[in-house]
Amino acid sequence: MDRRRFLQDLALSVAGIAATAGVGCRGHQYAHVLKETDTDMVGSHKAGAETWEPLIQSSVTQLLEREMGSVQLTSHDGVPCKKRICFLQVENQSAEEIGDFGNLIYQEINTIINKSEAFELVNVRAIKAGLQQAGIRADELYTPKARRRFAEVMEQEHEPIDYVLYATINSGTTRNNKKDSQVDYLFTLQIVNLETGKSEEESAKIRKGYHKSKLGALRNYGST
């Protein structure tokens, strides 16, 4: 009798464990391809696509629109020509690592600029080679002397440059004593005209609230 009960219990236990293993398995991951109309996922711990995409779109578009008014789109002999922009990298001065978003941000800016009628980006390898040949650093291009030297070298290499573009990411964090926080992300683009030395700047800002509970948004901002 006892043996039968033991065997019944054993069978039940085995079935129970097997069922548990089947239901709550943590070894799987699922994915799906997003449609064009799907909104970006909102990063719960740091900035992601939902932050960088609109920041890049608005700042790059506005800066190019502003600069477009002042450029001549045809050369002196009437041939249409695009103004060439030198853009090296995104400088992260924020308190959040951008990780693989650094390259994505670069490519996004690249795509928007190359889609415009008035501007195009110079190949990054050509820029690096030019800087090395001129013996100057990217941030030294702020000084007129370094700019002239760099422009000369690029001209010799048949890669003339009209503008230098800098992109910087900054952030500021506000915390309350309930461990909720708000991070303001500021994306700044600065474009320097190599010919005139004149610089234009455009910034875009996004504020994000990070909460430890689902009601955090309601508590801090009165909405979810």
């Binding site: 039940l12 030294e140 004593n177």
Partner: protein, 493 residues
């Protein structure tokens, strides 16, 4: 594969038997109609439940014992063996996964794979952030067993040092986020200081001293800012902060002087920064500590959260984890460039001291938690005896007492910790002419250089920084000396 299967079968088999025994006893306790028989069956069920809960716990090695082979292999410079031990433990011990991943990150870094190290560190950093929130279920669980039942959320010093190692790893992989991680380091320490101050109303000054800011954060920020002539003002500010937070840092004054009044790098020159992870970092081992009135008072407060009764006085020693430091084999690293001795590294973070200081500040709370746990366990047993109306000195009473003793004996201190941390993080800066240089690092002590040196070539670019990282837990360097920027021809790692 075969050995894995065998291990799985061996562990699952007793568990199945335990489950079935438990189930059959529980059923018998429920169906019984006779009162006295019901109580006896209930007692028998509780007894078996205690035994089943305790059996898997008794005689288990602690985290301290389990990671010894990893540490030994790592200190011997055998990174492959250390990684193999670690992978085995990762499969077996899920509760120790995060802390083991931290050790793995150090192995990756020493193996010349800073990107992989950064990924692991980032993963654990995010996980520790999630675990910072109070989980009542886990808290109750830890009251019934021990602190090992809680998911390990990292010691305060570890949380800050994850960000420090992230910054160093990123620097070595030229990721561009080293500055962000350095800011996170400062921010995290500030958050911790705030939280601890809020918790310890009585001795704010003592706690603030124990949790002083880590100067490596502003050091890295200053270093990065110094690379550009446009941000020298920021560099000077960061250097001043380093001097303020770590007044004993040897190079603080020279760094400020250079940023404020000199040219950071002369024409035709660049600068080499050497980072050295020196010594064996702090670990935790189990100790039995006596209980005093202070800890009883704190336990009483802790107990208030669960019950409105006072803690009965219990002065018997409790098992708690204690931070243990090791006497460093090498004091610093002496740097030779192109056969010429140019200087020694200086300590910017003393991790051992940081860990001990923080544990001392929280010592009464650690003991109090152990006391509160003991009281909860005793309370449960007393309650059980009351409900079952067990006579004093009866056989049942003895059985319950024995179960109680076994329950308390099963408790082990939570010795989980980041075991492959260094004792100190040291730095050294030197300006060099543009070109390739041979850099040799020597373990160095009071009586000069000793042990096995390690050499690597480093390329200096005009007006730019180059970085080197060495891991020196004992008298010889473990793994590779990492350099950045890397030679594009070096495909390894």
């Amino acid at each position: 594969m075969t050995s894995e299967l065998t291990e799985a079968t061996m562990t699952s088999h007793p568990m199945l038997i335990q489950l079935s025994v438990l189930k059959s006893t529980a059923r018998r306790a429920t169906v019984s109609t006779d009162g006295s028989r019901s109580v006896r069956t209930l007692l028998s069920f509780v007894g078996k439940l205690c035994c089943l809960l305790i059996l898997p716990l008794t005689g288990c090695a602690s985290h301290f014992d389990r990671v010894q082979p990893i540490r030994m292999a790592f200190f011997d410079g055998n990174l492959i063996e250390a990684d193999e031990h670690l992978e085995k433990l990762l499969k077996k011990k899920r509760g120790e996964k995060d802390v083991l991943l931290l050790d793995k990150a150090i192995i990756e870094l020493a193996s010349g794979r800073p990107k992989e190290a950064e990924q692991l560190l980032r993963k654990v950093r995010d996980r520790f952030e999630e675990l910072e929130d109070f989980d009542p279920a886990k808290a109750v669980g830890s009251m019934l067993t021990d602190d090992n039942a809680r998911a390990y959320a990292g010691e305060d010093y570890e949380k800050v040092l994850i960000r420090a190692m992230l910054s160093i790893s990123n620097l070595m992989s030229e990721g561009g986020d080293a500055g962000a991680y350095a800011l996170q380091m400062v921010d995290k320490q500030q958050q911790i200081i705030q939280t601890v101050q809020d918790k310890c109303d009585d001795d704010k000054e003592k706690v603030t001293l124990a949790y002083k800011q880590v100067a490596l954060g502003p050091y890295i920020r200053g270093m990065l800012a110094e690379e550009s002539p446009l941000t020298l003002h920021e560099a000077a500010k960061a250097r001043i902060q380093v001097a303020k937070w770590e007044p004993d840092f040897r190079d603080a004054k020279i760094d400020i002087e250079r940023c404020e009044h000199e040219v950071p790098m002369h024409p035709g020159h660049g600068a080499l920064y050497v980072f050295a992870l020196v010594g064996r970092g702090p670990i935790k081992e189990e100790v039995c500590e006596p209980v005093t009135q202070v800890e009883l008072l704190i336990a009483d407060r802790l107990f208030d959260a669960f019950s409105n009764r006072n803690v009965p006085p219990t002065f018997a020693p409790v098992k708690i984890p204690q931070v243990v430091n090791f006497v460093p084999v090498a004091d610093s690293v002496s740097v030779q460039i192109d056969q010429k001795a140019v200087g020694r590294t200086a300590t910017i973070v003393d991790i051992g001291e940081m860990a001990v200081r923080q544990q001392q500040a929280l010592y009464p709370q650690i003991i109090a938690r152990a006391v509160a746990r003991r009281v909860v366990k005793k309370g449960i047993l007393y309650g059980l005896e009351e409900v079952a109306d067990i006579e004093k000195n009866s056989l049942q009473s003895l059985a319950v007492m024995a179960a109680g003793v076994a329950w308390e004996a099963s408790e082990t201190a939570d010795t989980r910790c980041w075991g492959l941390l260094p004792d100190t993080i040291q730095v050294f800066r030197y300006e060099l002419p543009v070109g390739e240089h041979t850099v040799t690092l020597h373990p160095s002590g009071r009586h000069g250089d000793f042990g096995t040196p390690s050499t690597a070539k480093v390329r200096i670019h005009e007006g730019r920084h180059s970085y080197m990282l060495g891991n020196l837990p004992t008298s010889r360097f473990v793994g590779k000396l990492l350099t950045a920027p890397r030679d594009p021809n070096d495909s390894d790692g």
